[in-house]
């Protein structure tokens, strides 16, 4: 009782001292016995996709004696809430996450159920999903998550009208991108819109530059505890490429005051003040919500340009691979949980996700693509993800949470010239180690 009481007290201390609500007040035994009878609690990030999640729960509950209860947590508080309750009796049986670094601390604390047994009983739980996506919730060779929403690859978007006026095509290679930057600058257009104040849009440029120059291996090694790779020749080359792009004025000068999240950088692209923006696939609906006619006629999209002589495959992509359901090790009804998870590759799931504009990552998605809100766009993305030899999840999500802030600060400082390549490399080498 002592450790548990002390933990509750410290938890209460942190919560009240730092003035944030805390929902964990636990007593008694932990473990399956204290979980509610005939109920499975599924905790998800609260947003528009919840209606699909609720539909799956309703479908499951029609035929099952053990009922699934969906607990939606308002988005901005999700990660804090999860961290607070996952090691208490209030923990859910199944929870939404981002794979990779977002669940690694829970795996280290032995809180999660390895999904090997589920997959042995139903191989479709692995085989029905695109491997590049499924693998981002595999930790040290053991799968811990089942993809449960849509994929969001990062693509290079452009304003078709601006490119036509400048007489250029969307670039296929890095050199073509640099040439386009010069042409556009001469026309008085900011070549690339960047919401630098949000920091994560800037990070996308590093993810692609490092992938194209050095291949995915460099980042995988860095993540696995070999920080010296940041000092390699390839790392320097990737940073040189980014420097050249920044110094050429590709992003203008005031990108650190612009945000994507408040509509600033999308407006630059839409009004023709900028020609390109590197952004996740949600960018399409961001523009569509404001101006459907413009989006249909003028929003172009391509894969990220190839780098000549680089080690990375030009078909590699980065972004949010998908979101995942992970299972608590002490769930009371593992068999019911397994059956619930099998719904995540059902036809009903795929159709419901496509109907609200998400792109699921199951192998059967392909046959339903013509039902998507914009079939052409959905097909382009699906092929991009299906054909990608490697799908790099966002760096800040691949690392554990403690590394997120220092990583994004270094990313911003190098772009704005506050630190040079050596400063960036030093910052990356000192990130809190993965393990």
């Amino acid at each position: 009782m002592n450790t548990r009481t002390r933990k509750s007290l410290t938890a209460a201390a942190v919560a009240s001292a730092l003035v944030l609500p805390l929902a964990a007040c636990s007593s008694g035994d932990s473990g399956g016995s204290s979980r509610p009878e005939n109920e499975i609690h599924v905790m998800v990030y609260g947003d528009a996709t919840n209606k699909v999640e609720q539909q799956m729960v309703d479908t499951f509950n029609k035929t099952s004696d053990v009922k699934v209860v969906l607990d939606t947590i308002p988005g901005a508080d999700y990660q804090q809430k999860l961290q607070t309750i996952i090691d208490t009796n209030a923990a859910p049986d199944v929870f939404f996450n981002w794979g990779g670094g977002s669940i690694e601390p829970f795996v280290d604390a032995d809180l999660l159920l390895p999904l090997d047994d589920f997959i042995a009983e139903d191989p479709q739980l692995q085989d029905a999903f695109l491997p590049a996506v499924f693998n981002s919730a595999v930790i040290d060779g053991t799968p811990y998550g089942i993809p449960m929403r849509g994929t969001q690859p990062v693509m290079l978007f452009h304003n078709k009208q601006v490119l036509a006026d400048a007489g250029i095509e969307a670039p296929q290679t890095w050199d073509e991108l640099l040439a386009a930057v010069e042409t556009l600058k001469a026309q008085g257009v900011t070549p690339i819109a960047l919401g630098g104040a949000d920091q994560w849009p800037t990070l996308m440029w590093y993810q692609y530059a490092f992938d194209r120059v050095a291949g995915p291996e460099l980042f995988e090694k860095a993540l696995a505890g070999e920080p010296d790779v940041w000092d390699s020749a390839e790392s320097h080359e990737a940073l040189d490429k980014l420097s050249a792009l920044i110094d050429a004025g590709a992003f203008g000068t005031n990108f650190d005051s612009v945000k994507f999240t408040d509509g600033g950088s999308p407006a630059l692209l839409r009004t023709g003040k900028a020609a390109f923006e590197l952004m996740g696939s949600w960018n399409y609906s961001t523009h569509y919500d404001v101006d459907p006619a413009w989006t249909d006629a003028n929003l172009g999209y391509t894969a990220f340009p190839a780098v000549d002589g680089g080690k990375g495959d030009a078909a590699n992509i980065t972004g949010n691979t998908n979101n995942f359901y992970s299972v608590l090790a002490d769930t009371r009804y593992p068999d019911a949980v397994r059956d619930f998870l099998t719904l995540m590759y059902s036809d009903e799931f795929v159709e419901a996700q496509l109907a609200i504009g998400n792109l699921p990552t199951t192998t059967n998605t392909e046959q339903f693509l013509d039902q998507a809100a914009s079939p052409e766009y959905a097909a382009f993305q699906f092929d991009l993800v299906k054909d990608a030899p490697h799908f790099q999840m966002s760096w800040d999500q691949a690392f554990p949470p403690a590394a997120g802030t220092p990583l994004k600060i270094a990313v911003q400082q190098f772009f704005s010239g506050q630190i040079d390549a050596d400063g960036f490399i030093a910052a990356m080498k000192s990130l809190p180690a993965s393990r």
């Binding site: 450790t3 002390r6 933990k7 007290l9 410290t10 938890a11 209460a12 201390a13 942190v14 009240s16 001292a17 730092l18 944030l20 804090q80 961290q83 607070t84 996952i86 090691d87 601390p105 829970f106 604390a109 809180l111 630098g196 104040a197 920091q199 203008g252 000068t253 005031n254 990108f255 650190d256 005051s257 612009v258 945000k259 408040d262 600033g264 407006a267 630059l268 003040k273 949470p401 403690a402 590394a403 997120g404 802030t405 600060i409 911003q412 400082q413 704005s416 506050q418 630190i419 809190p432």
Partner: protein, 306 residues
């Protein structure tokens, strides 16, 4: 001086009981509340600052590791300096504006009453709403800076340390001046008119009256207002979170925001607790020094002899 305590009583305690003064029991609810929700958490945060804890499992004692990490942390040292700079700039900018507005609004003309009602509108808005509003107004491509290039240049206000700090100071000025103007208005109204009449007879003009009468009469009000500003400045958080997010880089990462980053983005509650302790100690020390220097603890009326 009707409020002055009766003199020459030998046993004030006994006298208090006779007139039914509240005893210790009356203070119990407030004391319990304060102990449970302020003192106890503070003690536990101190304990937590000697542990490593991510919120999973039990906190693990690591001795003074967090403290030595903090001493070597350039961001921490910088954040303390930034907190002090922001607080000082807040006091220096808000005090004169609030005082002049408050004294002006203390006049009895009806147009002043109407205009002061309008000036006080920012008081009704939450800090978060104010920050979001100014973020939009200051957008470099579609906001005010895009229309006034002669003043703002490329409009990269959030991309340089000096301009980012200037924005934070300006937004605080815009938001908190009304509150302090209100305090000054009340105090200025309480200045007896006969003082001004006497000064007028002696041939003093408006400016002279302000410096010779109004300013000395507002001394205690100024101390109250400055203490409020200092406490508010040291605990500034929401404007930083929404306007600059501590950036560019760590250039506006003040101590309170740094604590938030460590605790709720990095889940490093041990280190965050150490920062919290530093913040509590620093804020307590500063307010003690201010109370001592200003004589706030033995404050006397300015109306003696009137």
């Amino acid at each position: 001086m009707t409020t002055r305590a009766p003199q020459g009583r030998t046993r004030p305690g006994a006298a208090d009981l006779q007139v039914g003064r509240p005893g210790v029991v009356w203070a119990l609810p407030a004391a319990l509340f304060f102990g449970l929700f302020a003192l106890l958490p503070m003690v536990l945060v101190l304990v937590l600052s000697f542990t490593q804890w991510s919120g999973l499992g039990s906190p693990e004692f690591v001795g003074t590791e967090n403290w030595s990490r903090l001493l070597d942390d350039p961001v921490m040292l910088k954040s303390i300096g930034l907190s002090l700079v922001l607080t000082a700039l807040g006091v220096v900018t808000q005090t004169p504006v609030a005082m002049l507005l408050g004294v002006w609004a203390a006049g009895h003309q009806w147009n002043r009453a109407v205009l002061s009602a309008i000036f006080f509108v920012p008081l009704l808005l939450s800090a978060a709403a104010v920050s979001v509003l100014w973020r939009a107004v200051l957008d470099p491509n579609f906001g005010v800076p895009a229309q006034m290039e002669w003043l703002f240049g490329d409009g990269n206000l959030f991309g340089n340390q000096s301009t980012a700090i200037a924005v934070l100071v300006f937004v605080s000025l815009w938001q908190f001046t009304p509150l302090h103007a209100l305090i000054y208005q009340g105090a200025a109204k309480a200045v007896p008119p006969m003082l001004y009449e006497a000064a007028e007879i002696d041939g003093a003009g408006r400016v002279r009256s302000f410096f010779a009468i109004t300013l000395p009469q507002l001394r205690n009000t100024m101390i109250t207002s400055v203490i409020l500003m200092v406490v508010g400045g040291l605990t500034t958080f929401d404007t930083v979170l929404i306007l600059t997010n501590g950036g560019p880089g760590t250039d506006t990462t003040i101590t309170a925001f740094y604590m938030y980053q460590k605790a709720f983005r990095g889940f490093d509650f041990g280190l965050a607790s150490a920062i919290a302790v530093v913040l509590v100690v620093a804020a307590t020390a500063i307010s003690l020094v201010m109370v001592r220097l200003s004589g706030y603890d033995k404050m006397r009326s300015e109306l003696e002899g009137v």
